[in-house]
Symmetry: C2
Subunit: 395 residues, 2 copies
């Protein structure tokens, strides 16, 4: 009954191992098969290399393989390292709400939330919460509330997009690490925290999970160790959005989307910029005003020309962090909200600026993209325990 | 301009303080008002005692008060202490999914999730995920999957109930700490972890936030310090459900719901049992089979008589933890699922038992109730940054 996949209880003595690469081994005196496993029916096979695609079809068993086991241990370690980083640096952790009436990004690609049973709706009300309610796309606005009380705050929780596109970089449910800092008036302050967070957390993860990281750096993404080393050892590069467009113009490369000032950077553009920087992560800052949400601070370098926004681009995954200074001037914010006809919706947000405000800013990091970046994993579905995406919500 | 509520930047020297209760004070040389505050319009007033009810109407400002500030610092510290406890004890952290096709508790009080815009639904499909999808009520079943790979796992995330009842103990969105342990075959093992977790985390929170805890123990809930001391210093009490019913029968008290074997314990019953135990937390174990969900292990003390379930009852809040051994025997589980006509839905769950299984169990703790319990806060809406409940989803 002692087959591959069975669960066993072994009693014996821990002795010094004569084999290379392991300090000790268990000299078994008694082996008890606690849970047998029918190897013919079990979908995982001994010494067979199962592809990540095949494993995705087995959401209840894939965590028992070396690869997903290593991945989820790294994910757990990274989660702990992120919490520790913020705690050690004086941040207060905030559980920003999952269900919210706001659509922070204004993209409209949100999930709505309603009781499954009609009778759960309060009597004579159209909605359970009286107003339409959605799954959060970002905790930023709620963190801004809290930064006014605790100066430095962070959140680390699930966020959601009802985006029907299926790429190796998108999920309907994914995790974001977001931070907000009061009394901050330059983008440099934000970039410094981002770089320090990335390097400190990654150092800790790699040194706490050396074997699990090595499995990816050797087997799944050969050569990735050197790429990661380059990201960790070099100061990150900074360039303005305008410089980035100039670099793309001079690229002498045929892009599917022609780069032009005022247009979003496409994935192919991000890739070129990171290559241009020799694989070192690059901050691109000061984006066109019209590309960005209402809450970003006007740089006043022309009438509504650029805002104090910054993205960090990294090899393989492209945009990993996005941050900005927030518009803290009541008149600028109000006139922008008025043009967007959002004045009533965000009255509370304007009030934050009317009573004891300060220049402030923050950033968000996609946690799954972070794991893809440090481990070299191609598909985002392989770095989360139970991926949710269009057509799929298994278990 | 230096008014109550304004945000200021102060430069000066930190000097030894002549005043009692503070080691140092800042001898200001320069005070700059960064963000002024119109005290007449500002809804918080200097030296005025604002009630918790009034503060609930100000979700964007209440965090700036002493009470909510202290509360949220304790919440942040407790979050960190829980993550540390599990890490130090060898648990792997798992992000169990928020959107799921399962209804773990079978209560049906769930929120359904759909794209807000019709056009986000995949073409010719009725649902975005192809099947109806809901917000999670528990990560337990997903943790069971993971316990087979990592032996000890935990999750700490949001859970949801579309429960239309409004009490001081219920929210539509709240946080749960859940753990699952493989190779565990007695409820005693589960109870030991629960007691150790409660005491270790609470000790750490109280010693890391002494002033914040004192604010509650002196001002909000006078006398609570002694009650908490009693919970921390004494071994928790254990009694079977059957004994609990006998104690209630002998109570000589008029209950609104007459206690009877086979019936759920009501809030008034829980209160009596905790009083009976002198305010020491009490484990009640071995509940009637028919009261509990399909996944709990049959004790075989009669035909479908009791299951290996345990609840921890504490002063003020009642049920704080709930745990159980899981039914790991394929035949027992299958016949129970067959009777419930859930055999197809939970085929994957049965498969966990068919391939390399082990006796296992786990528990969940309501995080907001935990905060109510250690701080003595009456209303659950005051221990979460942005409460969501029927009729209310503000910000």
């Amino acid at each position: 009954m002692l087959t591959f996949g069975s669960s066993v209880e072994v009693r014996g003595k821990l002795v010094k191992s004569p084999h290379k690469g392991q300090g000790v081994e268990l000299a078994a005196e008694n082996i008890h098969v606690v849970g047998p496993c029918d190897v013919l029916a079990f979908p995982l096979k001994y010494k067979v290399h199962h592809s990540l695609e095949y494993l995705r079809e087995l959401p209840h068993f894939r965590c028992r393989t070396n690869v997903l086991g290593a991945l989820l241990r790294v994910r757990s370690e990274a989660t702990a390292a992120i919490h520790s980083y913020f705690k050690e640096n004086g941040y207060t952790h905030i559980h920003t709400p999952i269900i919210t009436a706001n659509d922070c990004e204004g993209a409209g690609e949100v999930f709505k939330v309603e009781p499954a049973k009609e009778e759960q709706k309060p009597k004579e009300e159209h909605h359970f919460f009286n107003i339409p309610a959605f799954l959060t796309v970002s905790g930023q606005l709620h963190l801004e509330v809290m930064s006014g009380a605790f100066t430095k705050v962070f959140t680390f929780g699930p966020t959601f997009r009802a985006d029907n596109s299926q790429t190796r970089r998108h999920l309907a449910e994914f995790y974001m690490v977001e931070a907000e800092l009061f009394f901050v008036d330059t983008l440099q302050d934000i970039m410094q925290v981002i770089e320090d967070l990335f390097k400190t957390v990654t150092d800790r993860v790699v040194s706490n999970c050396p074997q699990d990281a090595a499995l990816f750096h050797k087997r799944i993404a050969p050569g990735h160790e050197a790429k990661l080393e380059k990201m960790l050892k070099n100061p990150f590069i900074t360039m303005s959005y305008t410089e980035a467009i100039e670099i793309l113009d001079r690229a002498g490369q045929e892009f599917t989307y022609k780069p032009a000032w005022g247009q979003d950077l496409q994935s192919e553009h991000e890739k070129h910029l990171v290559r241009h920087c020799g694989g070192i992560p690059v901050f691109v800052y000061n984006y066109p005003y019209d590309l960005k949400p209402f809450y970003m601070r006007d740089n006043e370098d022309g009438p509504r020309r650029t805002v104090a926004a910054v993205d960090l681009l990294v090899p393989e995954v492209g945009e990993l962090f996005g941050g900005s200074l927030r518009e803290d001037r009541v008149d600028y914010l109000q006139s922008r909200l008025r043009r967007l006809m959002l004045e009533d919706t965000y009255r509370w947000y304007v009030e934050l600026r009317q009573f004891g405000s300060s220049p402030h800013g923050g950033f968000g990091m996609g946690f799954e993209r972070y794991l893809q970046c440090i481990l070299g994993v191609q598909n985002i579905k392989d770095v989360i325990p139970f991926p949710r995406f269009p057509h799929s919500c298994v278990l």
